[in-house]
């Protein structure tokens, strides 16, 4: 029996490249598991093209049994947008970190959202630049220590944590799906990602899912502290839930307008 038991990896995971290259306790593994299950559930392995960025996300370049393109910093979005424009029948999944999405690639994100490009963007938010050794990112929490904010992030000098999904939800045209999930709630996360991919399948518009993720290596946290940071610290600044759903378009639009000064 012991010989027969096999890991319950999503079908689309590539077993040959496991264990994957991410650090112990890294949130990427959890997000990519949720993504893999969503791909399995929608049965889109044949059509999906996975793009990853520079930064830790690049370690996923051989993660899936999916055609995969590892791109440049923050450029995953334009590469897959270019692909999708040329081959609309493909399903484009852009996977990147908060640095790629909100700093160096922010212009691509904003423009892609405003064009309502039919791609699915998944952003792992771990509050810092991980691959480069833990520098401050747009998402770093106030007071959080990083290699470039060694005394804690001073919001007076460096701003407050960037709210990606809120930004996207504000500027996205109708048809967009926007949500923020967390690796602490995998069932919900898979559901969000699946809804995002469905949105692309239905050709309604862009889908954007930020995921509160874990980086024990650069956070210097043990497992208990990791969960505490995600569930108690990050959630103070980054509320989890759906921000835009095409199904609730009317209501959302009204609320949206209501927020205008």
């Amino acid at each position: 029996m012991a010989i027969e038991a096999q890991p319950q990896m999503p079908r689309v995971w590539r077993a040959e490249t496991k264990p994957h290259k991410f650090c112990p306790g890294c949130g990427h593994g959890i997000i990519l598991k949720a993504l893999g299950e969503a791909i399995d559930a929608l049965n889109i392995q044949q059509r999906a093209v996975f793009g990853c960025d520079i930064g830790c996300s690049l370690l996923a370049w051989d993660f899936f049994n999916l055609d995969t393109i590892q791109t440049h910093h923050g450029r995953t979005t334009p590469v897959l947008v270019g692909l999708k424009r040329a081959r609309p029948e493909l399903l484009a999944i852009c996977y990147m970190g908060d640095g790629g999405a909100y700093a160096i690639g922010a212009q691509h994100l904003v423009s892609s959202v405003s064009r309502n490009d039919p791609v699915t963007i998944i952003v792992a938010n771990n509050t810092q630049y991980a691959m480069t050794g833990g520098q401050m990112a747009p998402t770093t929490l106030p007071g959080q220590k990083t290699e470039t904010s060694p005394y804690g992030r001073d919001v007076e000098l460096t701003g407050r944590p960037m709210l990606g999904p809120e930004l996207v939800a504000t500027i996205a045209p109708s048809g967009a799906y926007v949500a923020r999930g967390t690796v602490a709630n995998v069932v919900q996360l898979k559901n969000f990602i699946q809804k995002g991919l469905s949105n692309q399948l239905k050709g309604r518009g862009i889908s954007f899912i930020e995921v509160l993720s874990a980086c024990p290596t650069n956070w210097h946290t043990n497992a208990a502290e990791t969960w505490h940071f995600i569930e108690k610290e990050m959630s103070k600044f980054f509320p989890v839930g759906e921000l835009r759903t095409p199904d609730g378009e009317q209501r959302q639009e009204v609320e949206h307008r209501g927020r205008q000064p």
Partner: protein
């Protein structure tokens, strides 16, 4: 799946706990998420030469699968054990009181 992973299988409470040492990096996320504290460190070493996890350190497994869900490496598979096959609760309690 063209490659096979070897499992360490432990029956505990309502669950059959399959742990794949070749995948387990010993991050401990599952340890903290277990509602019955049954997961703890084993002597066996895993993918990165760090201890892997095993059940039997707390109250019996309730097969909620939270550990499996949060494992970033798909190193845990929980099967629900049929009622008649469940392991002896006392054994688990004994361990806890040890």
């Amino acid at each position: 799946m063209s490659i096979a992973f070897k499992a360490i299988t432990t029956r505990d409470g309502k669950g059959i706990f399959h742990l794949f040492p070749a995948l387990c990096k010993g991050c401990g996320l599952c340890v903290e998420k277990c509602p019955v504290d049954t997961i703890g460190w084993a002597k066996q070493l895993g993918a990165f030469g760090t201890p892997v996890v095993e059940p039997g350190h707390g109250r019996p497994c309730i097969a909620c699968k939270k550990c499996q869900l949060v494992c970033p490496d798909a190193a845990i598979w929980i099967e629900k054990q049929a009622p008649q096959e469940r392991s002896d609760r006392l054994t688990s309690n004994d361990r806890k009181s040890r």
